[in-house]
């Protein structure tokens, strides 16, 4: 697994290198560059911070300081199915924290972590703008409103079944060839 991540990271770094040159070497571009990396790869690998520092000719600690200051940037790859639990004000007063806890318990990871098989990750977010549906959780791109602890299990189960189905389909397709 670790091996796999390392080769993956090497590819990511190459990609980042090729995109860096589209930015002018200005301090004001630091955040846009970090955003570019975050958006293309969903996290900022450790080595990428060095790359950016070299490119903008500023100390690594400056880049790291900025990257860690802002909530948008992550330093670990998220899961294939990132789960975001809203803990905005409306969701908090409707017990969003209990929903979060249920996901944590079922997936056996904490908020901010990714499952060892890199399938799921859990994150907390502030208001996603549908407070009327509170409490809210987002899996992938889909917003699930009126969440309840008992819905958590069903939701995860559905994703797992869906995935198994896809894998079976893949098998039959390759089997047919």
């Amino acid at each position: 697994m670790d091996e796999e991540i390392l080769t993956e990271e090497a590819l990511i770094l190459n990609d980042i290198r090729s995109h860096l040159t589209t930015f002018e070497k200005e301090r004001g571009n630091l955040i846009p560059i970090l955003q570019m990396i975050q958006e293309k790869h969903a996290y900022i690998p450790r080595e990428a911070i060095k790359l950016v520092a070299e490119y903008l000719e500023i100390p690594v600690c400056e880049v790291y300081g900025v990257a860690t200051f802002y909530n948008q940037f992550r330093f670990h790859p998220p899961g294939k199915y990132p789960i975001k639990v809203c803990l905005g004000t409306a969701c908090h007063v409707r017990s969003g924290d209990i929903i979060l806890e249920n996901f944590e318990r079922k997936l056996e990871i904490k908020e901010g972590e990714t499952t060892p098989d890199r399938e799921f990750s859990i994150e907390r977010v502030a208001c996603v703008g549908c407070c009327a549906l509170a409490p809210v959780a987002i899996v992938g791109e889909t917003v699930h409103g009126h969440m309840a602890p008992s819905k958590v299990e069903g939701l995860l189960l559905r994703i797992r079944i869906e995935k198994e189905k896809q894998e079976r389909e893949k098998l039959t397709i390759s089997g047919n060839n």
Partner: protein
């Protein structure tokens, strides 16, 4: 000059009207679907798809018009169907799921039956269907900033122009910059970013400041975790904000402008970026605006999600590529801001008010709202109300009208307990303050503040200590760390509050909360630290008995703090053999006791309350109590 402006703009307006008339007069039904974030979250994309499929299947011709958000978030996905051939007026439908969309296509569009049981109201007066304007949620609002939100397609600049968009720009270009500033000053417009600084005064200072490259920044950082009006405005009507920015730039003499919007708002970023492009294509933006020698470039900077970056000097730091730490003022940004240039920073709502002011005049604006706070206020009202969503009201309306009339009051026959206004910087007001008029000064006087416009309504089943803890948890994490009192002080405040909610409060804790709060207010540089203790201070002032119950009785009056509550099953009410509670318990805490009745294993229970919801209403056997010692102890039989 004047002639050229008119010539250029008239051509644009004619095109807009041509398109509008073609759309209006097309002899087919029109389906308007709200597609801002809230609509999409409630399934508007599926709804739209269902309409498209059903129309194709049944060979019906109709036009789908995607619009922004009208603010009635409780009713999303919202669809308005205008089907003149049916003889009915345009009909407003709420919660239109994909299934409902298919049904309406068949029954209303094809067969002419509007299905009265699903109708919310008609959008205009008529004899057949009651109009939505009869509901307080519609007729007590006053739309100035959000007037066009939900009515026009935010992706189409012509839709905005057809509704007299950009006409105040035409007007302004024929005035002297000073005349615009005077108009804004006379209107009494105050900044909607929280502090309420007079906008005309800010612009005048920027106009007088010396600098070659003055800059305008539209602050759409919106860091309050419970407010989303700025995003909605950008998603539903970006051109009104852009027009406000152009007017501001013309008035102060700036050539560059930036919209600072959160990266977490991808749809808003996309909508504004497209709007800028469209405005440039029509020469309403860019080089030589409408043939004059006035140039303005607007770009978008995506904020990376730090609450403190809503503060103007921190915002500037972050655009310059640094950590967002506030700087000492003076110099104020209007003297020396971004890259050392005079910089005007205004909130989205402030800027979006300006085109309306120039269009209708300062006197008109002053006629709305109160003497010291003219205009409207926008709140995102959430929590325990029947109709949550975005509400735009004239300043001066009381909290009672807003909560009980416009938003429909508290659901489930619960009692009102408190309202939290202004998000992490605001305060918590009890029922005695319901008759307070909503304006900058009255709210501040009561201990809350306008702030971001977040409003959380709490019923009797909520805990003010927990809400204070929630906001402190937020500000503590978001403190940039520059000032010791803010960095360390909020940490200590939070740890005391955490102790209280866990039932570990000590005597003297409340006094320490108060003292520490005052120290943090005094010892912090920026508004974040200066206002962070507000939720604690106001709730301590008005709900001290609740704090005391947490400390001395280890009791949470709202039964919210989980360490201070317990669930148990009333054996007299439990129906034997019904397994619903056991089935839904996520941690297997429910077990069978005598006569197959159920009981809860307190050592396992995580207090999610799922069993209480699941227990059939006929039994209502699950009880919630605080303190936990009130729950009778029933031993779990060993597993066989």
């Amino acid at each position: 000059m004047t002639e050229e402006i008119h010539q250029l703009f008239n051509a644009i307006r004619e095109e807009a009207e041509k398109r509008r008339n073609a759309f209006r007069e097309a002899p087919v039904p029109k389906i308007h679907i709200g597609m801002a974030t809230c609509g999409i979250a409630s399934g508007a994309i599926e709804t739209k798809k269902a309409f498209e499929e059903a129309l194709a299947e049944q060979n019906i011709e109709a036009q789908i018009h995607t619009v922004g958000c009208v603010g009635h978030c409780y009713a999303e996905p919202i669809v308005i169907i205008d089907h003149p051939a049916s003889g009915f007026p345009p009909v407003f439908y709420h919660e239109v799921t994909a299934g409902k969309a298919k049904m309406l296509t068949k029954l209303f569009l094809a067969e002419g039956d509007p299905r009265f049981e699903h109708v919310y109201g008609a959008t205009e007066e008529n004899e057949l269907i009651p109009s939505v304007m009869e509901f307080p949620r519609f007729n007590q609002e006053k739309r100035v900033v959000m007037e066009k939100c939900g009515r026009i397609d935010p992706e189409d600049i012509y839709d905005y122009i057809a509704e007299s968009g950009y006409s105040s720009l035409v007007k302004a270009l024929q005035l002297k910059p000073e005349e615009i500033i005077r108009e804004v000053q006379e209107s009494g417009l105050r900044g909607r970013g929280g502090a309420g600084f007079p906008t005309g005064r800010k612009w005048e200072l920027a106009r007088q400041a010396r600098g070659e490259n003055k800059i305008i920044i539209c602050n759409a950082d919106e860091g309050d975790p419970g407010a989303y009006m700025d995003r909605t405005i950008l998603e539903s009507n970006p051109h009104q904000v852009l027009e406000g920015m152009i007017l501001c730039a013309y008035a102060v003499g700036a050539g560059n402008a930036t919209v600072y919007v959160r990266a977490e708002y991808p749809l808003a970023v996309k909508t504004v970026t497209r709007a800028i492009q469209q405005a440039k294509e029509l020469r309403l933006l860019g080089k030589g605006i409408l043939g004059t020698d006035f140039d303005l470039e607007i770009n978008v900077f995506r904020g990376s999600g730090a609450f403190v970056c809503g503060e103007e000097t921190a915002l500037i730091q972050s655009i310059e590529g640094h950590r967002g730490t506030p700087q000492h003022r003076p110099p104020y940004p209007v003297e020396r801001g971004l890259r050392g240039q005079p910089t005007v920073i205004n909130n989205v709502k402030t800027l979006a008010s300006v085109p309306q002011i120039l269009n209708h005049g300062a006197a008109w604006y002053r006629s709305i709202g109160t003497e010291s706070s003219p205009g409207t206020a926008i709140f995102s009202v959430v929590g325990s109300v029947v109709h949550p969503g975005l509400v735009e009201i004239p300043m001066g309306v009381t909290l009672r009208t807003l909560i009980f009339d416009i938003c429909g009051g508290i659901p489930n026959k619960k009692k009102f307990k408190a309202v939290q206004i202004g998000g992490p910087s605001g305060g918590c007001l009890p029922a005695d303050f319901l008759d307070t008029p909503i304006d900058f000064d009255s709210l501040t006087e009561a201990g809350a503040m306008m702030g971001s416009g977040g409003m959380v309504v709490m019923d009797e089943d909520s805990c003010v200590v927990d809400v204070s803890r929630y906001f402190l948890d937020f500000t503590q994490k978001e403190s940039c760390g520059k000032c010791t009192f803010c960095r360390v002080g909020t940490y200590h405040l939070l740890s005391i509050l955490e102790r209280l909610t866990k039932g570990e409060g000590k005597e003297g804790d409340l006094e320490q909360l108060e003292n520490l709060s005052l120290d943090i207010k005094n010892g912090s540089l920026c508004g974040l630290g200066k206002t962070a203790p507000n939720p604690v201070l106001t709730s301590l002032r008005y709900f001290r008995d609740e704090y005391e119950a947490h400390v001395s009785e280890k009791r949470c009056p709202g039964k919210i703090c989980r360490a201070l509550t317990a669930f148990y099953i009333d054996l007299d009410k439990c129906a034997r053999g019904c397994d619903i509670c056991g089935g839904c318990c996520p941690v297997d805490a429910v077990f069978s006791t005598k006569n197959r009745k159920k009981a809860i294993d307190q050592t396992r229970c995580v207090k999610c309350g799922e069993c209480k919801v699941a227990c059939p209403p006929d039994y209502q056997a699950v009880k919630k109590v605080s303190p936990p010692s009130l729950a009778p102890f029933i031993e779990r039989p060993p597993k066989i």
